[in-house]
């Protein structure tokens, strides 16, 4: 169970549209290899240029689940406890191509999308972009603030 913490956001002070958090993430090929090992997803399209090219991709891609995993982190820090995240969903709409030298920068903006006063659950909507284009659709985090 989520224990009480001094840093819990006050549900009653929240309003739909409030900016909750904003953070940018610099991905490199090293980030992809690290995530492959941590998650057990060793699909070579996430670390081999030749394989990515062979299957018709524009380059080596970040794991969709890496993008999903990092995009929720600003919300976790805002909530003060990863255990307050009761539900998290995304749709993978566009790939993040990670250049071997320049890497890739992923921007996350999190805003209050909906407030359920009875359950004291805030729905936080994420806008996640790479190269000025959205890469996750319907990215919603339900945070329990009861």
């Amino acid at each position: 169970m989520a224990a009480a913490s001094a840093s819990v956001p006050s549900f009653d002070a929240l309003e739909v549209g409030d900016l909750v958090a904003e953070r940018s993430f610099e991905l490199t090929r090293d980030s992809l290899v690290r995530y492959a090992g941590a998650s057990g997803d060793f699909n070579p399209i996430h670390y081999r240029d030749d394989v990515a090219r062979e299957v018709g991709l524009p380059g080596v891609l970040a794991h969709g689940m890496l993008t999903m995993g990092l995009a929720v982190q600003p919300v976790v820090d805002w909530a003060g406890d990863p255990g307050r995240v009761a539900d998290y969903q995304v749709r993978f709409t566009r790939p993040v191509v990670v250049d071997p030298e320049a890497g890739a920068v992923v921007l996350v903006v999190a805003k209050i999308g909906q407030l359920d006063a009875d359950a004291r659950v805030a729905r936080v909507d994420l806008t996640v972009t790479f190269d000025d284009q959205t890469v996750l659709g319907k990215a919603q985090v339900r945070v329990s603030l009861g």
């Binding site: 989520a2 941590a38 990092l70 982190q73 406890d81 990863p82 749709r91």
Partner: protein, 148 residues
């Protein structure tokens, strides 16, 4: 070969129990750029009322990988892994995963749909702890691209 429509509704045997290790949680947390001390520091986690470090919200993907391996290995499934694209993903938790948990995942194929040459498979992995209590359900929609 198209995805076998008879997969819909199929329930797979539970995976081998998986013991969540503290260093695995920390390794995963670092890999997803987690900075919250409850993910990384056992003392901070204990101070907040947990037994050990708390896994990030997407950690259940590690369990889901094991169930999807069962699905791909099913002889009559007709799923070619090289043609699979991840469509969407959801985690619905009863409680967070904490280091020390002994978890089991059970896969149900909740739907198989065909859209032209492509198929969409929705796979639901229900994760329970050693007491049998629900921890998290991971729902993944896989798009299987048809032959060109």
């Amino acid at each position: 070969m198209p995805v076998n429509p008879e997969l819909q509704g199929r329930v797979f045997p539970p995976t081998e129990p998986y013991l969540v290790g503290r260093e695995k949680v920390r390794e995963f947390a670092r890999a997803v750029f987690a900075t919250n001390p409850l993910n990384l520091d056992p003392e901070a986690a204990r101070a907040a009322g947990y037994d050990d470090v708390v896994a990030p919200p997407t950690f259940a993907v590690v369990m889901q990988e094991k169930t999807l391996a069962q699905l791909l290995a099913e002889p009559d499934a007709g799923i070619d892994f090289s043609r699979v694209v991840h469509g969407d993903q959801r985690f619905t938790s009863s409680r967070p995963i904490v280091a020390g948990d002994l978890l089991t995942a059970t896969l149900t194929v909740s739907s198989v749909k065909t859209l032209g040459a492509h198929s969409m498979v929705t796979a639901e992995s229900s994760v329970t702890d050693a007491s049998g209590a629900h921890v998290v359900t991971a729902v993944s929609t896989l798009v299987v691209r048809g032959e060109d």
